[in-house]
């Protein structure tokens, strides 16, 4: 048993470290804005996310002290990142590749939903209802599949 009154001296990081990390974060923000103005096609997203991950790593390591703290906190944080990655990656496999297996037909989730009652896209004329997801009319409510955009764009 340790002494009850023992209070370990806090681990104080140098002031220059905090200011340096802050400056690096501001600099990386400028970098990501500048690069976003250069058209790189699909690489824009990759670069933006890469810079965001570097910034996140700086915040977590130094502002949140994970670099110095007990490993347990790092493990908990990693579980979050890992779970989130699985969540996103598996969902994207499904949503991007589903068209290769089935013929996807988009249709209203709930044809009686209030949002299909009124024309919400006035730019496309009064008769057009929810764009892409044309709601079934009263007469043809049974045939959902004939109405609506075929599948996500990009296919």
């Amino acid at each position: 048993m340790s002494n009850h009154t023992s209070t370990p001296a806090p681990h104080v990081l140098p002031l220059r470290l905090y200011l340096g990390v802050g400056a690096a974060l501001l600099f990386l923000t400028v970098v990501t804005v500048v690069i976003s103005q250069i058209p790189l096609g699909g690489w824009n997203l990759v670069v933006a996310l890469a810079i965001a991950f570097i910034k996140a790593l700086l915040v977590v390591s130094f502002f949140m002290h994970l670099y110095y703290d007990h490993k347990l906190y790092f493990i908990i944080f990693s579980i979050g990142v890992l779970t989130l990655s699985v969540f996103i990656v598996l969902t994207m496999f499904d949503t991007l590749e589903r068209g290769a297996v089935y013929d996807i037909k988009a249709r209203p989730i709930n044809p009686k939903a209030a949002m299909y009652d009124k024309p919400i896209f006035q730019s496309q004329g009064d008769t057009t209802k929810a764009s892409g997801f044309a709601a079934p009319t009263d007469s043809g409510a049974a045939n959902h599949d004939s109405a609506g955009q075929a599948k996500p764009s990009g296919h």
């Binding site: 104080v12 923000t29 969540f87």
Partner: protein, 218 residues
């Protein structure tokens, strides 16, 4: 030692069910990290929604994102990063028993948070005026292409939930400011301040991803 003792031979802040201050502090930090884990997953659901709808409507996302004011988003990123620095320095000052400086840095953090929300208010106000609103409330006519309301649904849900977290963080920082002025913290005990810092940095972290994903679609 400067910290008060409660008469039982241990510091006043130490709960009876912990064997020492170090154990109490690490237990509190463990709980905070578990909470931050749930926060990551809460926002994670919205990031998944973002990924799906952007994958389905890449052109619409590109066109709709031009409606956001990139300059204001960038300024808000600077503001939030600065607030994270001041928060970290507030805790550092407490570690060095420099309470006056802690108070100043906490006030600075609060001010940065307020500036962030004010800028966000102007952005929201502009979009309300134009009718660039989520779902069925979307009445803006200046965007061609299908389903632009989806982008604004996601924009408002993500930045709105983040904004609520900023407001909550301001409440916590204000409380920490009060407790610091009441002399309730010392280099031996500043756990609530440290946990508030962790929360505040996570709010900053989420914005670090929201900014490029919403404002900088290439």
């Amino acid at each position: 030692m400067s910290d008060a003792t409660s008469g039982h031979g241990h510091p006043a802040h130490l709960q009876h069910h912990f064997s020492d201050s170090e154990q109490q502090a690490s237990a509190a930090k463990l709980g905070m990290w578990l909470f931050l884990l749930t926060e990551m997953l809460l926002f994670g659901g919205l990031f998944v929604a973002y990924s799906i709808y952007r994958a389905w409507n890449p052109e619409m996302f590109y066109e709709a994102h031009k409606q956001l004011n990139m300059q204001l988003g960038m300024i808000n990123t600077f503001v939030l990063i600065s607030s994270s620095v001041t928060m970290a320095l507030a805790i550092r000052s407490m570690q060095l028993n420099n309470k006056k400086v802690t108070v100043r840095f906490l006030i600075a953090t609060l001010l940065f948070a307020a500036v962030f929300l004010i800028i966000k208010y102007f952005e929201y106000h502009h979009k309300f005026e134009l009718g660039q609103l989520p779902g069925k409330y979307y009445t803006f006519t200046g965007l061609q292409g299908s389903n632009p309301h989806i982008f604004f649904s996601i924009y408002f849900m993500m930045t709105g939930l983040h904004g609520i977290h900023v407001i909550g963080g301001m409440g916590l920082i204000g409380w920490m400011l009060y407790r610091t002025t009441r002399n309730q913290f010392s280099p031996a005990y500043y756990t609530p301040l440290e946990l508030t810092g962790l929360y505040w940095h996570l709010v900053d972290l989420i914005w670090i991803f929201l900014f490029p994903l919403l404002y900088l679609i290439g």
